[in-house]
């Protein structure tokens, strides 16, 4: 082994020692995500009427390879509808422990209601806490269950650990400050 080689190798080390690091000091700094990242699902609404897009058809549940989704539909009260049309999802649950974030549910959804978002910080303690219900998934909810719990306890807004250059248009109504 020549001295030259040794110097070259040391040179690489030294160069990187003084260049800008690629590691991200997460959680102190946000992770930059690509717009098509597959994270926690969002149930979107029609922006004009505010009605839920989901019609409770269970096609997402049928398409899911991990059997992570449970939908229980019900009939809309015509006076006070939850969604457009006759039917809405009374119960909509995704078990995040089962989900493999494949996005098949999004592909299957005829109304574009269920869309995979960006949140990935889902770690929690109890099995039941991984079952995300409608209120955890609907579009205005920001943060995962543990994040929202923590935010409530500390009386501070939810702190998200990522940033995206833009929110893809399927995530209608999703905004990150």
């Amino acid at each position: 082994m020549s001295v030259m080689a040794l110097a070259k190798a040391l040179g690489i080390t030294l160069r990187h020692f003084f260049s800008k690091p690629v590691t991200i000091p997460y959680p102190d700094a946000p992770v930059p995500l690509k717009p098509r990242f597959h994270g926690r699902h969002v149930l979107t609404r029609h922006p004009d009427t505010g009605l839920e897009k989901c019609i409770g058809c269970s096609l997402c549940a049928a398409a899911c390879p991990a059997y992570a989704i449970y939908v229980e539909p019900a009939e809309n009260d015509p006076e006070n509808p939850v969604s457009i049309g006759e039917r809405y999802a009374k119960v909509y649950e995704i078990n995040m422990l089962r989900c493999i974030f494949c996005g098949n549910c999004e592909e299957a959804c005829p109304t574009g209601a269920i869309v995979l978002g960006y949140e990935f910080e889902l770690a929690d303690y109890r099995y039941s806490d991984f079952v995300y219900t409608k209120e955890d998934l609907l579009v205005d909810t920001v943060g995962s269950k543990p994040q929202r719990r923590e935010a409530k306890e500390r009386k501070k807004p939810v702190k998200l650990g990522f940033e995206v250059p833009y929110v893809r248009p399927e995530l209608e109504g999703v905004k990150y400050e």
Partner: protein, 804 residues
Amino acid sequence: MVKLRINDREIEVPEGTSVLDAVFHAGYDIPYFCSERHLSPIGACRMCLVKVGTPRKGPDGEWIKDEDGRPKIFWFPKLMAACTTRVSEGMVVDTLADEVKKAQAGMVEFTLENHPLDCPTCDKGGACELQDRAYEYGLFEKYYTETQNGLKKVLYSRFEFTKRHADKHHKLSEFIVLDRERCIHCKRCVRYFEEIPGEEVLDFIERGVHTLIGSEEWPLPAGFSGNITDICPVGALLDLTARFRARNWEFEKTPTFDLTDAAMSAIWVDSRSGKVERIRAREHPEVNEIWISDAARFGHGWTKEGRLSRPLLRKDGALVEVSFEEAAAFLSERLSGVRPEAVGLYLAADGAMEEGYTFAEAAKGLGTAHFGFENATRFPVSALPAASFADLLASEFALVVGDPAEEMPVLYLRLQEFLKGITPAPRYFHGTPIADLRLEERMPRRPERLATFAAYPTRLFAFAGVRGVYAPGSVAALFEALLAAMNGKRLPEVPGVSEEAIREAARRFLEAEARTIVVGAEVLDDPEAAQALSEIARAKGAHVIAMPPAANARGLELTGLFPEKGAGFGEPGAEVVFYYGATPPAEALRGARLKVFALPALDALAKAEADLVLPAKTYYEKRGLVLNAEGRLLELRPAPTAPASAMDGIEALAFVLEAFGKRVPARSVLEARTRLHERLKVPLELPEEGTLFRPRVRLGARRGGEGGGSLYLRPTMWRARMLKDERVRRALGEPRLYVHPETARAEGLSEGMRVEVATPYGQTPAVVALDERIAPGFFQLPAFGRGTGRRVAHRILVPSGGAA
């Protein structure tokens, strides 16, 4: 038999077979929408077009030959509807030709043209014939065309056109909703009503693209209406009890049998998340074909209401949930020192034979004479030889005493077949013929084949050549008179029925070669009448189909649960009573010191009287054997809907006996069945469709319990427990108290008056309805499965301001 060729296969089918059935028999598939089993083929949808050719005979009577010397095939100039074309000798059918494929794809597209894109919200989705046929035969491949750069371009789309719009939410009754946009005009529902229950209520209105299904009536006549939701090929007619409960592929589908009535129709129990959500008819060609009654289909709501999952114990006057240990401790404390002979063990009418066996054996072990099952008739139904519905269809004359439309609804539909003279169809490779060319629209009924008598004008009266309304309680006189008329003797008087009618019925009965007598609960409850009936059947030769008010009466009697002497179900006498699955009239608890029930949910009596209530299963959730009215042994399969701790009769009885420190005859269904196998030669393994099982039974009629009040309880297909469901109550409306106008005048009642009727089964509100066709001196009230066909004591209370 006729020989013909389907594509490459030579087959032989009976004369009169349709090409459609021949194609399926040969193992090929063609799409169809308008044909349906047991309905007349009408060729409305043009979906089944195939290429058909036949050889032809020349003037010399010989087949015209082609060059090769084989009979020359003359193809029909156009494609033929397979469902309305009859097979003929030497016929050749081509279902795979390009022109056939083109026609099929074209027809699918035409049908879809005006079909809304509702699949995601439609309850038929996933089990829809239109979806399936569109997928299999539609134009899918040809939607796209390749462009130069290799990309596919949409050529034509089903979504481009403006669709027809129509009423999307048209309720036909409390149970059925019609979506007129989805209707594809197959006419199955229209034909169903006319051909199966024999009531023309639905029809097409308007023409062409504006055609819609409509009815003059609201609601649709209850009874058999639900079957249209099964046969509608699309989601135009849907079951409201299951509306939006789940998608078709999400249901747990359990094939079992319905125990609402003794015919025991085959059903599918569709459940999800531990709840019964929907009941559908399942095909049993010999019993219910593909039909079930509305009560069997829509009356499942009670299985969800207030289900018990833990024992309830009375503490300081109120029932509170306790653990099983505490319940057992309570029982053993209260049972210590009780004389075993003073214990009464009672089972519901829908108990399985294994449960019946365990109850009967336990009673024997205790040495008690108090046992029995709900709605047992005074004359044991198994003392009458059993006959099949097929025997009825093979008969020429039927004498019906009772109301089959309510007592055994499926038999009513079979009687309609009998009236039209339809015999069972030949079976094909694919089962029942889909397009049976023997069937036609508006086939004449033959009233000369039927004589019917009942305590009120029944649905069957419209179709009977001889009919009569007798006064409740005179069935014995009726049968004696019939016997006397057959023997040419002087007739005893039958209140309400003319001598002519009896003579005419007897004459027609004797003239027919093969006869069937159908009798209801009222006859079975009158040993004298049942004796006279057996006498007629034996001496003159007739099949007898009895309609016992307890669904599994034959099975339970066979296991020995028919009491000879002691207090039966609903009779006071025992000091400690255990009722499984049903509660008796309050009167039966008189003198009982300890009252233990096992029920799926509390009812009024249990709430007021029970000391301990154990959680029980419903018959949808049990495993076990049952014996239907024809003597057909069937096996129940459990749907996964019972709360985890709900007990079947065997478990609940073992729980009680153990607390009592007595021997437990069997601890599981399997053990009880093995005993039944040893004792009665009951087969251990049963084919899916059951098997005829008709051992000889020696049982005597029970004495006492004649009742003899002036309130007659009319048979109903609906059961009291079903009334827990708000929708059922809305559909049935308030119960009617039928009275003859004369009696009404004497009692100060008038049409439409609201009253309260106190019966042994509790107090119920009712609306007075005057009917001059029924016998004066009596009141008639729907029984809802309790005391069917009996006469009981009652009081009519007129609330203040109750006048109409």
